[in-house]
Symmetry: C2
Subunit: 372 residues, 2 copies
Amino acid sequence: MSSALTDLFPLPIVQAPMAGGVSVPQLAAAVSEAGGLGFLAAGYKTADGMYQEIKQLRGLMNRPFGVNVFMPQPEYPGASTGSTGAANAAPPSGAVEVYAHQLAGEAAWYETELGDPDSGRDDGYDAKLAVLLDNPVPVVSFHFGVPSREVFDKLRRAGTFTLVTATTAEEARAVEQAGADAVIAQGVEAGGHQGTHRDLPENDGSGIGLLSLVAQIREAVSIPIVAAGGIMRGSQIAAVLAAGASAAQLGTAFLATPESGAQAVHKQALTNPLFARTELTRAFSGRPARALVNRFVREHGPYAPAAYPEINHLTSPLRKAAAKAGDAQGLSLWAGQGHRMARELPAGQLVAVLAEELDAARTALSAQGGPR
Amino acid sequence: MSSALTDLFPLPIVQAPMAGGVSVPQLAAAVSEAGGLGFLAAGYKTADGMYQEIKQLRGLMNRPFGVNVFMPQPEYPGASTGSTGAANAAPPSGAVEVYAHQLAGEAAWYETELGDPDSGRDDGYDAKLAVLLDNPVPVVSFHFGVPSREVFDKLRRAGTFTLVTATTAEEARAVEQAGADAVIAQGVEAGGHQGTHRDLPENDGSGIGLLSLVAQIREAVSIPIVAAGGIMRGSQIAAVLAAGASAAQLGTAFLATPESGAQAVHKQALTNPLFARTELTRAFSGRPARALVNRFVREHGPYAPAAYPEINHLTSPLRKAAAKAGDAQGLSLWAGQGHRMARELPAGQLVAVLAEELDAARTALSAQGGPR
């Protein structure tokens, strides 16, 4: 059952796809070469940009790897159309404009302009799928929703193993029913965007801790589980395997490696005592994402509407300008709850250390098995 | 190191103390008799009420058990006194009165009156400690803060093993430095009150998932860790042991047993699909506590000030009246994130099943150790 996934790579260690230039081919190559599963992040890229990275990665190594694709965000259900389905809750009328007004001072400060909130809702989904069917890759994962059964059928025929993020047992059931090969259980600890299928503000504050989520999903579905959220040590990988997962997915742990494409200011912030805590915020994108609490999150988070991807488009120039200025207080410093445990090891070495820690934890746990 | 704790009881299973009449002597006795560690909850009781329960429990069995004590809540730091220390943030002037005004309709509906918010801040702490030093018990745990070193010294001389709740690595360090024998790592998944040492509203939304918290605390202190929050299955106990804990503490799992003193309406609500999610709310007590989201939480949670124990006193008659009426929509339905996994087994049988599941998970994990 879980063999199909773990046959692809010897160690139960998946490098989380991190969009925005973090999961570069060099990082994915190092992880896959070390026996884990490296991942590229197609999010925010064009289909061709994604394809170029895939070719680059294939030039670096011959091991299996994955590509993560963001699901298109349907139009909001309108009174006129009466459409419902999988759409996010519609933001209150004018909410994006009000938030843009609030951010005007940021744009002035960083000497840039706000982005156009209406720059598209589908992140090039169809074009990316076409590339991935024409040039199949070993693994494809989806975030922010569930593709149609047809998509899974096509990818399976292409020889691609499929994963979809779930943040609740209900979402995991939807993932299994649609025909995915495995489910990513994303705990509330995870850095970056929660892959919640529909963003409904009334569910804010209900994010589920990883260890509870894995147990709930284990009893809800029979497909393999990849556990994600706050995992920084091999002992935690042992923990999620004990709870019923087939592998662990780590983002922040790999963000800190030299191979990652994260901004230097972002890497340094992970262990900077100035940034003591993280929270889920809509400040940067309009969807809940876990970031280190900095000035931007504190000032704007409480006022950011649930409007993805409009807010993401809106703040894009601000984030670029803050990055260029090396200003950690204006950047989206995505980070999981274990950020202070980040190690600067090269990615391949990190995989080896995690595997050693996993073995040690396994041995210690079985040694406790007898009478004490 | 951790032997002192686990020598007291053969299985790494602690029954969480649940105040408000849930952790009755019958429940603690069943858990301790089955090889776990049963717990009484002294919170909201008089010192004599606590003592009567201890005597009752001792009449039921001769195994080790624990008693949980709430820390007194210091007066708010006032501009006049300039005191700071361990006090919670002061609520805005008049906030308790405004909330009382909001709850007036509830009092009318349930035909009762609101409680007096100024009914005391110390929960009889000194008197309870005096009883526990005069008549020592095997284990004492503390919630909502850290006792002085003197208290730990006296309890140690009395032969009592001590534990204190921590919700962050910083709090765990404070627990170790004060002289406690072990620390309870309470994840954000946990039902009921978070044992945060100081309630600071600016930290809302920063609750840490259990698996991340255990790993962080494991590297911050050398005393043993008891892991709490969302644990409902033996596989999850194996998980926290793999992550470095010495035992797991389960509340909601035992709340559902026939021995627990929880209201029938509360037990039934745990698995009622009407209550699909939980959240941390100040609605009932003024301090963040995880409850099933019902009408009371939805209507009042967003407006409840950070004012513990004032709000707890204020709502006490409402909660009693709702319980008497069997009205799940007005009760504080404390529940951890795994509530839907609750099993109605007798407590001793639940301990046995958890131990079997733990062994199975241990065996399965060590079997994965070789090449695959």
